[in-house]
Symmetry: C2
């Protein structure tokens, strides 16, 4: 009962004995061929949520029919609010009640929340069981499913508990993106756009040419955008798996973005929306420090607008520049006194400590443009 | 305020970029020199428990004076019953409330329980912070602090949630063993004896010569026993960090031992006591399968007796051979139908699947000898 699939691209994440492929294509999740060479453990567990499960759970189960003696299935509640130790406990229970052993394969089917929490469960169940990422949001396909960061939230902070733990494979099925809400697609596009200024200006130009096709979910355009994004991320992660330095450039726009998310209250703006606006602020900051000219700031701004992302922070939202800087100071990426930002120079990115003053200025500018 | 220390031996655990030293000696934990070349993070946290903290916490704090801007201190409740996610939450809170960052160094001061839970917290706080093992029981010095296994228990099973995560250093301070309860010393000796039959028969002969000195806590004898134990464990772990195969030989006596622990109810016998008796059963099983002769079984039995360990399982305790086999079948080390055991042949160890019948026989023999 599986449909034929098309692999449109493959990216290798090169990490010695933890290397794996990201396969990008159509019909992948429902095709038995996608799983053919993965371990056939006695037991296996599909972890998904109450939104994605009803949409794609049956296709995945059909594709896996006969591979495992027992295939367990768990639907988590949907939402970032459930990326918690309680939800993690649901996964452990689903593994322990049927006495799943250390070879049990976990399939994470869903967006970044499912991928992060199921990946963390895989990292820690019996000190690690193998798992496969099947990301179903654009953000998860271009970012969270690749690179092995897994985590849950703690009441005192997002992603505070986690592990670096690589999957055996990532299957990016572009067909799954058809059912994604438009805001979620835009949020994913923010992380796609990010890869241009930090690593590949030619990709930025390509995005300018194909943004309308991407918003219209044209499979060929999506395939290329996912491929380039994963290739850039794989390259960075291959050089710095545990974020000792280089990997931090993937957080372009995120210092501002996290402060926006926290300041507006989690759930007001999507992560990708906050990152979109945060990238514009980070671009302004790069310009203010003489690294790029206004032309590049404008290009990024227009591109984010066309992707359906907010590019200004209306003062009416009640988040002051001072409060944002305060929030940045409690964020993990700050060092005593000065704040660390990913800045771009028109070719590549760097992490740099910056005083509060230019940061406040830049936020004020973005607020003035909204007013 | 630190006393001069003596390093009596050092073992290297060779694991590429995760390599580290196990230092064995006297006065180590209270000597600033033991920490001299470790990272001086802004914040640090000592994790200990309510028994070990009052005994050695002050000496550790004095040795660390001035190394970190802030040195936090956390005493966990004492006991295996607290090796839980709730206790883990106490450590996360102690790290998150003062906003400890990803460079925060954790010092685990205590027996295997403190080392396992603090090590697991280190493995997962912000996807991993550095930590140092300062084991204060013999069992922790010769076994649990070396090799990077960390874990907590789950209501449905022991050590079910965990990670492979190596410390930066292990400091085995033999002076700390002076305050150890006699039963705890014996339990540690079980894991010491284990290394003989699985890897080094000359060490077994040495143990036969020096068992009285060990029970009397002679520092020179303890130093050699800890050194050989750590060297053998380091060698095995260096070849098979994640227990894909070889590392399993370290579980000699443990399939029987776990069934004894579970069958009598956790807390009745100490882990090391159950392992001691389990080793005798595993030796009987090796003999029954023609791998060793009765002489070696007798030698092991006498050695365990002199170490103060139980070598028979009295039927009066109410644990039947059938129940034990049942418990082994739900244990993680079993495969459908047959049971996996570590067997010895008088030179080295191997893992082998065995039918239930000889296993039942062997348990009956050990019960008959007790009656
Ligand atoms: N691990 C990493 O490296 C990394 C990187 C970036 C973000 N993240 C994490 O990812 C999470 C955000 O991921 P996300 O944006 O995918 O959010 P998400 O997982 O919450 O998914 C967004 C929404 O879309 C729904 N959905 C998913 N797939 C769908 C589909 N095909 N059709 C219809 N609806 C679908 C989900 O149920 C959810 O309601 C955050 O928790 C963030 O911390 C992790
Ligand atoms: N990680 C591994 O590879 C590994 C290997 C073997 C065992 N373990 C784990 O180790 C744990 C058992 O360790 P343990 O035997 O050290 O038990 P433990 O940590 O409970 O210590 C035993 C008792 O001795 C006390 N104590 C510790 N040091 C003392 C000292 N110097 N003076 C006086 N009292 C002291 C403790 O407070 C406790 O009451 C189990 O949870 C087991 O699962 C782990
Ligand atoms: Zn992001
Ligand atoms: Zn043991």
């Amino acid at each position: 009962m599986t449909s034929p699939s098309k692999i449109l691209a493959t990216c290798r994440v090169a990490l010695a004995d933890r290397s794996y492929d990201v396969r990008i294509g159509q019909g992948l999740l429902g095709d038995a061929a996608s799983y053919f060479d993965l371990p056939r453990s006695r037991q296996a567990l599909i972890v998904t949520n109450t939104t994605v499960g009803p949409l794609y759970g049956a296709a995945l189960k059909a594709a896996l029919a006969g591979r495992h003696d027992t295939l367990h299935y768990l639907e988590l509640p949907d939402g970032e609010a459930y990326k918690t130790s309680e939800t993690l406990g649901l996964i452990y229970d689903a593994l322990l009640r049927p006495a799943c052993d250390r070879k049990t394969l976990i399939y994470a089917l869903g967006g970044g929340v499912v991928g992060d929490v199921a990946g963390y469960a895989a990292a820690t169940y019996m000190r690690g069981v193998p798992f496969v990422q099947i990301p179903t949001t654009l953000l998860a396909q271009v970012d969270s499913s690749v690179g092995g960061k897994t985590a849950i939230n703690h009441p005192l902070g997002k992603n505070m508990i986690g592990a670096f733990y690589q999957p055996l494979r990532v299957l990016c099925d572009l067909d799954a993106l058809k059912t994604l809400a438009p805001r979620e697609l835009s949020a994913g596009l923010a992380e796609v756009i990010k890869y241009g200024p930090i690593a590949d200006m030619a990709f930025l130009a390509w995005l300018e040419e194909h943004m309308d096709a991407l918003v219209a979910r044209d499979p060929a355009a999506l395939a290329y955008a996912v491929e380039r994004s994963c290739a850039i991320k794989a390259d960075v992660v291959g050089q710095d798996e545990r974020e000792s330095a280089l990997r931090a450039i993937l957080n372009f726009g995120h210092t501002f973005g996290h402060a926006i998310e926290a300041g507006l209250g989690y759930g007001q703006w999507l992560h990708g929306e906050a990152v979109g606006c945060g990238m514009i602020m980070a671009a302004h900051l790069s310009q203010r420090l003489g690294l790029i000219d206004a032309g590049l700031v404008d290009r990024l701004t227009r591109l984010c607008q066309r992707a359906g992302l907010p590019v200004t922070l209306s003062p009416a939202l009640g988040l002051t520049p001072e409060r944002m800087v305060e929030l940045m100071q409690v964020d993990k990426k700050t060092e005593a006194g000065r704040l660390n930002f990913v800045l771009v120079d028109g070719h590549k990115a760097r992490v740099q400590a910056v005083d509060a003053d230019p940061v406040l200025d830049v936020i004020r500018t973005c607020q003035a443009q909204a007013a």
